[in-house]
Symmetry: C2
Subunit: 123 residues, 2 copies
Amino acid sequence: MVLRGLGRHLIVEVWGVDAELLDDEAGLRDMLVEAARRAGGRVMGVLFHKFEPQGVTGVVAIAESHISIHTWPEYGYAAIDIFTCGSHVDPWRAFEYSVGKLKPKSINVFEVRRGVMPGGGEF
Amino acid sequence: MVLRGLGRHLIVEVWGVDAELLDDEAGLRDMLVEAARRAGGRVMGVLFHKFEPQGVTGVVAIAESHISIHTWPEYGYAAIDIFTCGSHVDPWRAFEYSVGKLKPKSINVFEVRRGVMPGGGEF
């Protein structure tokens, strides 16, 4: 019996990131789009918003699910989610690229398998 | 010491949902926007896509983070994420509304606290 699943979802917590990086809407947009590309995803749409006085929220919808980021520059913190489905994409490539860009002092990442069913699965 | 966090993230797995509901892009868009409203969120943007032959992916960016859904009508399955920050929003209201609409045969939900730090937190 194969127990894989339909999706892989990386829940990423990064701390100790430079505040300017976390407040740079255009830079974070470019980062997430490139992260999606490196994972092997196809970008369907992008939504970003810059808050005042600080903070950015962004979502990249991909054909294979989504990648999101929400930042708190005042705490040097960002919450990143990388959710992909299908065997042709690798969410860890998006993770590695994003972490390489943000250079956090600490990283926590959890992989959650989504849509796991008996005998089924797509990766 | 208070240990709360910056965000609450509900990871929702629903199975045994009617395939037509899971393939109804407009219906799912309305559901997620209304779910965001019920949670107390402010919608910043919406991205939805319908796949052929089946399946819908959708993300609602809210000022307080995001809500997303990815559906596999062929398995009666959907992966829903409800991520909110701030004490004025309640992700469980979005959860209850969505589950009430989808009427799954089984539900699994996990609450993940995001951005937890010593002595800090916003809810």
